[in-house]
Symmetry: C2
Subunit: 304 residues, 2 copies
């Protein structure tokens, strides 16, 4: 059993084998969000704050914070976003950047033990990110690609993950502070992508004994009714042993799938979390009503 | 790889390890449906016909037909229901009764190779149902309970299933014509029920090499928002190797979960079934619209 503890100054979240699945909200990310990007560059972080609150309200246990805007001062933006988000919510954060200086800027203002997103198996990333992770006593997402790119072969992706875990150990970072992203391919392009990732998650858990995460939306790329595919993917990934995901908690279908999977895995004792969230059952067929009722249920739960 | 072939006079359905999941519509069953029961006793089978058409329209690949009404002439009612349903749809049927004479009446009028629902591990059931299955060249659902009731211990349930498979062999019925129901307990009462059934399905598949089915709704008994739990259960059961279920295809959430699970398992090549069903994507957030759009998508698919 492996527990990865992440914390803010007020709250601890544990990603672990026998624990409820951890949903990391993905929305605070200007990639592909032109308005958000423009606002952040202009110093307007109202949308960041609103996204933070809405995601926690919807069921996120942690939030990913990314400020990757081309030509912008990413370290300053990321530090500001991290500070602001920590001022309005108590959930722990994943500090997300491909720029090492931005990761450090975010870590330097973060209160608690952050999740650094991410390190890869590339030599320069390993030797620049892992020292930071050690310095700040953080945990880290390890993405299983390297200089050769993303291998289609799950065995190669496993080997890259193993290399990262070993290198982290050289830096004094235990495997329990590494959360491996096995990389999920679009099922519309690779018919075996689902089966592959389930096997890979199982190996990561049983052989490397690490927690796992993924960007859960990639699997449905190009398909209609993506939330249905994402929900099935997450449910199966949880059955295979995946312990967290970076995804959009504003999609009720996705949160519901994760919570129901927790019930099925025996990770929601007496189904109390499920019952609290969904006990206001609307009339059958009233889907709009259902969504509203559930959101109210969620907000009531938070007040308890 | 095990294939269980079921057929009507016009259509063949294969329940199999590497095939799309088979949904057996559960609605034609007067248990707990007072109006339907009263109508059937009065000789009015309009609702039976409507239920048959609606379930096939919604995505059922087979239909279960049950006429279990206390004090009624069940053999005659079941035979009539089977004949009528076969006259309006081409999907194969599961003939469902706890009364052997009713099973025989249904089988005697059935055109094709039926699925008999069901035999248990009880001695008198084994020796009355299995000869019928052999006589009519049918397949059979084997429920893993016996004279001692339903064991809480999955190993005992496995042993009962094994006994049924062995006894069927004595009667000349191959394991490929047996679809085992491992019996799903309510997760609200037994926290480990989900994990237990996944392990049991895996054993049934790898050790006994049989196809599996279940009454999928039992798992969520007593909980709110049951379709969410049922969807997660079916998705995980499919990941564990379950190959069919007797469930309500009128619940879109359940059909969607099964179809998405097929995609994730690589059992929907190029996601063509998924795309055909869901390609009419409504505006985000319009949940009522979404449901209508999907139902129209389903009906268009049938016209193609």
């Amino acid at each position: 059993m492996t527990d990865t503890v992440i914390s803010s100054d007020r709250k601890e979240v544990v990603i672990g084998f026998d624990r409820p699945f951890v949903i990391i909200g993905e929305r605070i990310n200007p990639t592909g969000r032109k308005i958000l990007a423009a606002e952040m560059v202009a110093g307007d972080f109202n949308r960041v704050v609103a996204d933070a609150l809405a995601q926690v309200q919807a069921g996120a246990h942690m939030l990913d914070v990314n400020a990757g805007i081309p030509l912008a001062d990413e370290p300053a933006l990321l530090a500001k976003a991290v500070e602001l988000v920590q001022s309005v919510t108590d959930v722990p954060l994943s500090i997300d950047s491909s720029i090492v200086a931005a990761l450090e800027a975010g870590l330097s203002v973060y209160k608690g033990k952050a999740l650094v997103n991410s390190v890869t198996g590339e030599e320069d990333r390993l030797e620049s990110v892992l020292p930071l992770v050690k310095k700040y006593g953080a945990a880290v997402v390890a993405i299983s690609n390297d200089e050769t790119g993303i291998s289609q072969d799950p065995d190669v992706r496993f080997a890259v993950a193993k290399k990262i875990v070993e290198r982290a150990a050289d830096h004094g970072i235990p495997a329990s502070d590494i959360v491996v992203d096995p990389l999920v391919m679009p099922i519309g392009a690779i018919n075996q992508a689902g089966v592959q990732v389930m096997r890979l998650v199982h190996r990561l858990r049983t052989e490397l004994k690490v927690n796992t995460t993924c960007g859960a939306s990639n699997v449905s790329f190009g398909l209609p009714e993506r939330n249905g595919i994402n929900a099935a993917f997450l449910t199966m990934a949880i059955a295979s042993g995946m312990t967290s995901a970076i995804t959009n908690p504003l999609h009720l279908e996705v949160v519901k799938a994760c919570m129901a999977a927790d019930v099925m895995m025996g990770h929601d004792p007496d189904c109390m979390r499920w019952i609290r969230r969904f006990r206001e059952v609307p009339a059958p067929g009233a889907e709009g009503e259902a969504a509203r009722g559930r959101r109210e249920g969620g907000s009531r739960r938070r007040r308890e």
